[in-house]
């Protein structure tokens, strides 16, 4: 059971600035633990954002994205847009959180 | 206006004392009661505040005479304290052992590795963890290494500036082995005395500083 994302979205002059903080270990699979064993890879692979069910952002993340990723992007939108952020990871876990544009 | 002049002079004097005090670390906080080692409440709290973990045993809390002396800055800075400091330095100097094989300079390339490594002796290390000197934590050594601390003086061109006479070799060997032989409350650990580094490691550090071929002396 993953932890909730923190989503902040503000609109100005027709442009919505979206900032998303995700809780995820984002293990590359290259790190070794104290006993020298490689820690298995586990990271977010796909992410999409919808505003009122219309996709406004899509990303493919790789192992180079850091732990607890922070994502910031802009799209043309309006106050009151209903955002839904969804990610999937290498284990098949998914998470979706919602936020309102202010 | 003589009274005013007098008053002003007193003010200036006071101001000077206050400024001098501000820059001294020992004037900062409220005066504390005796720092005597046999102050039970403090010792008890200090002991209970730690537990042994890994290779760091609770024995590490036991202070030797040098540490007791330097833990009390007021005592160390007093007139009597200054005298005590000289005696402590003398004792430290007398306890230093010269290299058993009579060789002062080892391998400077290895010395650089030892100087770079800050590992070893913490409770998260194992006995097999190779212990480093952590020298760059406090000193500039090879000027090409920009990640250096400033708690100690720069050692760049150490040998170039001093040559390698017997006196310099012995002085440098002593400084690394037991820096408190020259300054009782030096912040530098006593690398041989406290068995942090081996004789060979110190020989390599010596070479880093004094070998004319060392990168430090180019």
């Amino acid at each position: 059971m993953s932890d909730p994302m923190r989503i902040r979205a503000t609109e100005k002059d027709g442009i919505v600035d979206v900032k998303i903080l995700m809780k995820h270990d984002m293990e590359t699979g290259l790190r070794k633990d104290a006993s020298g064993q490689a820690i298995p890879a586990w990271f977010i692979t796909h992410l999409y954002v919808k505003a009122q069910n219309k996709e406004v952002f899509r990303a493919h993340f790789g192992s180079a994205v850091s732990k607890d990723p922070f994502l910031n992007f802009k799209y043309r939108g309006a106050k009151g847009d209903q955002l839904m952020v969804h990610w999937t990871d290498t284990k098949g876990d998914e998470r979706a959180d919602e936020a309102l544009v202010v | 206006m003589p009274e005013f002049k007098k008053f002003f002079r007193v003010l200036l004097g006071l101001g000077a004392v206050i400024i001098a005090c501000q820059t001294s670390p020992f004037c900062q906080a409220q005066p504390v009661k005796t720092q005597a080692p046999e102050n039970p409440p403090f010792k008890e709290i200090f002991q209970k505040g730690f537990r042994s973990q890994g290779i760091a045993s609770i024995d590490r809390l036991t202070q030797d005479a040098n540490q007791i002396f330097c833990s009390d800055p007021r005592r160390a800075q007093s007139a009597a304290g200054m005298k005590e400091a000289r005696m402590i330095e003398q004792r430290n100097l007398e306890s230093i052992k010269a290299p058993t094989d009579g060789v002062y300079l080892g391998d400077w390339r290895n010395g650089e590795k030892i100087a770079q490594s800050g590992r070893g002796l913490t409770w998260s290390d194992v006995p097999e963890t190779p212990v480093g000197g952590g020298c760059y934590n406090c000193h500039q050594i090879d000027e090409h290494e920009i990640a250096y601390g400033n708690l100690g003086p720069s050692l760049w061109h150490y040998g170039k500036n001093r040559g390698s006479s017997k006196e310099v070799l012995i002085y440098t060997w002593n400084r690394i082995s037991n820096a408190k032989a020259y300054n009782a409350c030096s912040q530098m650990p006593r690398f041989a005395h406290s068995q942090i580094l081996t004789e060979k490691q110190i020989q390599d550090l010596m070479a880093l500083l004094l070998d004319p071929n060392s990168a430090v002396n180019q």
């Binding site: 932890d3 909730p4 923190r6 903080l21 809780k23 270990d25 850091s66 732990k67 607890d68 922070f70 910031n72 | 670390p25 900062q28 906080a29 409220q30 504390v32 009661k33 720092q35 102050n39 409440p41 403090f42 709290i45 200090f46 209970k48 505040g49 730690f50 537990r51 042994s52 973990q53 760091a56 045993s57 609770i58 590490r60 809390l61 036991t62 202070q63 040098n66 540490q67 330097c70 833990s71 800055p73 002796l121 913490t122 409770w123 998260s124 760059y136 934590n137 406090c138 920009i146 990640a147 250096y148 601390g149 400033n150 708690l151 408190k180 912040q187 650990p189 406290s194 068995q195 942090i196």
Partner: protein
């Protein structure tokens, strides 16, 4: 501007700024400060704050109660400004407590979770993970406020004196005390600045910026964890979590920091 003159400018800039002794203002410290500013926008500590708020309000433990009746010094359930006033003396426990030990008190009295559970857990796991999140939440509610530790109560005075003595206590294989590195201005270890904890500006920078999210290991560290790791690097044994010693050191730092700003939850390298 055509590409050739653009490249020329870039090459000039690189050669000027590339050398260590350069005319540019980009010292390593300034670069690090710029990097920190960029990161501050998305401080993962906020995720811990969110989790902490949940934990504060959700019933838990054998007594199945929330922590909303917990008194952090400003009255039951008052979170705003509480962290800025800690450590302080508490009449109900008759001792000076910092935020973490006070949370342990509340977890035991309100929720029935024994203090030993928290003390024995590893940092970042189990009950310590819970406390870390709670700390993030509570400290965030003092962000921007002035550090305001009283130090007037006799017990607070005593703890301050003990903390000061501990600060200067040299021992272990390196002969280190806190004072070895933290009692002068302008010092650094490698490229890490060492605040002078005897001055108000140094102490408030240190005390006011922890707890913090550490980017280098992706972990959120509370003040107790930071103190523990400081002592580890001093080659001392393990600092007992929530011990009077840890609170005495905290009292010493916090009182020296009085008047400074609460910047936490912070972001560190």
């Amino acid at each position: 501007m055509n590409i050739r003159s653009k490249l020329r400018r870039v090459a000039l800039g690189v050669s000027l700024c590339g050398s260590f002794l350069s005319v540019c203002a980009q010292t390593p410290n300034e670069e690090i400060a710029k990097y920190r500013e960029m990161l501050a926008d998305g401080n993962p500590a906020e995720l811990y704050e969110m989790a902490g708020e949940d934990l504060w309000k959700t019933p838990a433990g054998p007594k199945y109660t929330s922590l909303q009746a917990c008194d952090l010094g400003l009255g039951a359930g008052v979170v705003d400004g509480a962290a800025a006033r800690l450590p302080r003396y508490f009449a109900d426990t008759q001792r000076v407590q910092d935020l973490e030990s006070r949370l342990m008190t509340c977890m035991e009295s309100l929720q029935g979770i024994p203090e030993a559970n928290v003390v024995n857990a590893n940092f970042g796991e189990g009950s310590k993970k819970t406390i870390a999140a709670l700390v993030a939440y509570i400290v965030a509610h003092s962000k921007g406020m002035k550090i305001h530790v009283s130090g007037a109560h006799p017990e607070e005075k005593r703890m301050y004196a003990l903390g000061k003595e501990a600060f200067f206590y040299q021992s272990g294989p390196y002969d280190f005390a806190c004072a070895s590195c933290h009692s002068a201005d302008g010092k650094r270890i490698r490229l890490q600045d060492l605040p002078n904890l005897l001055t108000r500006s140094g102490a408030s920078f240190a005390w006011g910026s922890w707890p913090a999210y550490r980017v280098s290991n992706g972990e959120f560290w509370t003040m107790q964890q930071r103190l523990n790791d400081c002592l580890r690097q001093q080659r001392m044994p393990y600092l007992v979590y929530g011990s009077d010693l840890s609170i005495a050191l905290s009292m010493f730092l916090a009182k020296n920091a009085n008047g400074g700003e609460m910047l936490a939850p912070g972001l560190k390298r």
